[in-house]
């Protein structure tokens, strides 16, 4: 059982003095949340490979280390998407990676938190399915079309291989290599290429099919049931601002005449006026760094398939800047100034031909 085996690994690490704390999912009544554990006796309480992702683990690490580096040696068990988030948030100065070891694994995917609540699944059942290179039909959209379902070298420190094999460990960084060495574990190999390739193929097809079309009208229709609750933003790990620009109501307060003028000009307006502005504005802020964890979609109380918006547009934007968030070592496009880029867009706005 992979979970048991991981737990044993953690206890071992505690005993060898390699770690002083571990952050991993733990079961709650209807779901799983992250738990921070400092004693090996408590390791039993966790389920390292959980079937639900209620929060993004990197977001939790951000909370722990944002102000100051981790004071204890912390092992964090993160899914590949979370470890990419981790890497991205380090670039944004939101996580201090010192003293943290990240372990990630061939991810079976996770089930939508609400579905899970009414129809729970044993964690090991999901793992069982990928052992033979398959994957469950129950998992979330974002997981089905995940670009990086397996640990990525250079992202995080230790990888756990589960596809087409009995569990094997391998290192993703020098830090991880050292760690596995100290644990006395020989690094193993497994062949997950076909499994990953299958995801990517599915992803390509999905993107082609699910792309929101129809321009401005299309996006209005897509968002038509939005409540403006901002849950998607709250759950987004890349949206780390303390106060969102769109929650500063001072900026969007107007005298009544303003509204009437707009309504006159546009033959009626929809209220509130800043709803699609919020989503488009958010896309501009986080699009180039969107990891594709899909938590925005899980958080939507109106079941808007938001991953179709953020995931696909994010992916397109990243292509434009030739940037893979959480995978590339260079800075995100919003933080880097290049004299020479994006010439293909020159002249599109009616400037020089």
């Amino acid at each position: 059982m992979s979970n048991d085996m991981l737990k044993k690994f953690i206890v071992d690490a505690f005993e060898k003095g390699l770690i002083e704390a571990v952050m991993a999912p733990a079961a709650t009544k209807d779901s799983y949340t992250y738990a921070l554990i400092t004693k090996k006796e408590d390791v039993d309480k966790i389920t390292p490979i959980a079937p639900v992702m209620q929060w993004n683990g990197a977001d939790m690490l951000r909370r722990i280390t944002k102000l100051k580096k981790s004071e204890r040696k912390l092992l964090a068990i993160l899914r590949p998407c979370e470890s990419r988030t981790y890497k991205e948030l380090v670039k944004f100065n939101q996580i201090n990676p010192e003293n943290i070891i990240v372990l990630s694994y061939d991810c079976p995917g996770t089930i939508h938190a609400r579905n899970f609540k009414y129809e729970p699944v044993e964690p090991e059942n999901l793992v069982e399915e990928i052992k033979n290179g398959g994957k469950s039909e129950k998992i979330r959209d974002a997981c089905k079309v995940c670009e990086y379902p397996a640990p990525i070298p250079g992202v995080g420190d230790i990888g756990l291989g589960l596809v087409n094999t009995d569990p094997v460990f391998f290192s993703l960084s020098d830090k991880g290599k050292e760690f596995l060495g100290a644990m006395g574990i020989t690094e193993g190999e497994r062949d997950a290429d076909a499994w990953v390739e299958e995801h990517r193929k599915r992803r390509e097809e999905w993107m082609e099919k699910e792309r929101i079309t129809g321009g401005r009208k299309g996006i209005e229709e897509f968002l038509s049931s939005c409540l403006n609750c901002h849950n998607c933003k709250d759950m987004c790990p890349i949206c780390f601002c303390k106060e969102c620009f769109f929650e500063d109501h001072n900026v969007f307060d107007y005298e009544s005449n303003k509204f009437y003028n707009w309504a006159d000009d546009k033959d009626g307006i929809r209220l509130p006026t800043d709803r699609s502005l919020f989503h488009i504005g958010r896309l501009i802020h986080m699009g180039t760094s969107c990891i594709g964890c899909g938590l925005c979609q899980q958080a939507c109380p109106m079941d808007i398939p938001l991953y179709r918006l953020f995931g696909i547009v994010g992916n397109d934007l990243q292509k434009v800047f030739n940037y893979k968030p959480g995978v590339d070592d260079n800075l995100p496009p919003v933080m880097e100034f290049r004299e020479d880029e994006l010439h293909e867009f020159e002249g599109l706005l009616g400037g020089e031909e």
Binding site: C241, E243, K258, M335, F337
Partner: protein, 668 residues
Amino acid sequence: MAMKRIGVFICHCGRNIAGTVDVKRVAEEIGKREDVAFSTTYVFMCSQPGQKLIEDSIKEYNLDGVVVANCSPTLHERTMRNAAARAGLNPYRVEIANIREWAAWPHEDNPEAATRKAIRIINATIEKLKANASLEPLEVPVIRRALVIGGGVAGIQAALDLADAGIETVMVEREPSIGGNMFRLSETFPTLDCPQCILTPKMNDVGGHPNIKLYTYSEIEDVSGFMGNFKVKIKKKATFVDWDKCTGCGECLRVCPVSVKSEYDLGMKDRTSIYIVNEQAVPLKALIDQDSCIRLKFEKKVQEGKIKPKKNVKICSKCADVCEPEAIHFKNNEEIVEEEVGTIVVATGYEVMPAEAFPELGGKYPDVITALQFERLLSPSGPTAGVPRRPSDGKIPKSIAFVHCVGSRDPQNGVPYCSRICCMYTIKQAMLVKHALPDTAVYDFYIDIRSNGKGYEEFYHRAKEEYGVNFIRGKVSKVYKVGDKYRVQGVDTLTGRIVEVDVDMVILATAAKGSEGVKELAKKLRIPYDEWGWLKEVHLKLKPLDTPVGGVFIAGAAQFIKDITDSVAQGSGAAAKSLGLLSKPQLEKEPLLARVDTEICAGCGRCKDQCAYGAITIDPIRHVSVVNEALCEGCGACSANCPTTAIQVVNFKKGQIIRAVDILAEVF
């Protein structure tokens, strides 16, 4: 507190605005606003009576804010703010609504639209103004020392003027001697002075001036600090010679067995590995070029483990053997020194495009050279003692062709601008050839002769009338070698015929560009530059010596290619600008700077990466951005990139801007 008693002053700007915009109607419309206490028009707001009108109205109507609707704020914002200050209103409660460039001029053909647009611009400006804060200028202390970067004629002039005025001045030059490109020239146009004769006294003055600290063979490593308080790290490159001991006697040069192309002579002559740039160098010191010195190359290879030295092997030390003062030590004496200064004058000069960049004009042939290289061949102190000879075989050329505008005026293949000095120096060179070799035929292929300086046109006529230079109007397109000669394939656009001529040498007047490495230097200084390496002034007409970084000035060809007359004038100008700052005990700084709302700053560092002035750091304890007010120039790049607008420029806050934009963006 939002303002409630705003005064709006609409300028006619003669007919510039009033000819198109119905200013009376604008004043009436704006006057209807609840928050506007007074609105009026006047023919010239910038005139003394206009300013008086504003001052009197502020007092009479107890105004708490003022909008002046006139021209671009770059012209009269300061004027209007000063007027308000005289009447007791905080100057930062004055805003300019630019209705001349934005409404009157672009809509000359549609007065109605221009009038409505003017109203809207003023409304937007009022909205922005209403949330303006009252501000007081910042005060910063001043270090009364100056730095001059570049030891060409502009830098020399700037340094001497500063030093003579009692300012301790540091000069940094990357070559081993000061003198710059001017010292390479044969003679100067149109007076035919010998630059060595007129520049050496100034160079010696610099070398011996009690107020000048000279670092040659040195480069700027790093610049930090701000106007009045710069910290500069200077790298003194390795000379392998103790300059305190070196007397410049030149004995070492006579024994050095190595021969390489001389940089000073632009490859027209060889020098030894240990060398003194020229006989009149300041300082007159020897240095070793580590890339060619046998001993240093050997030692480097040993160090890298590429070779193992055999015992008792004697490596060349001929120079050290003859050096009486024992100055040559072969030790890498590179060192970084730090200087603190209040102002910086950048006078980095120019270079010309190499002949090799023009293969169609035969740039790869040895006898096709740039005009700057030809200066060395024409110089009495040059490799051929002023009688030009072909670099390939040393023969006296019987015919020479000059080609103007090589790379200049050519946005497709070179630079778009006119390099300004080429017409005149080419004419001068043609004359000098005729002086030295009266029987040599000279063909000068030009497009236009640009002789717009004192005595320049007369100089051109002398070349035509007295010297027998052949001028042919048309651009050369190809030069190629046929036997011993170079075939120049040109055109005479005036007679409309293709012209071919075989000559012995071809001189290309290649385009001038900013000096190599100037972009890296500009980045360290955080001053802007263009793609050709010219440093950008703040205003071409009115602030040609200023940069956007307070306390940093530019002079000479660093700003744009210019002749000696203009370079010297700018050197003096930049010195005067520096003196202006250094003569004050404290400097005032515009308080329109970025401020951080630490409550909402997430410390992500996006602002820090955008700041061109290095003014932002992340506080490691509070994990928020911190702005260094002395460094911040208030450009707003940080604010534009902050996802949550935690960092904003005072009086340009998001509410102010969005409200203004809302008004401007309404359907017309």
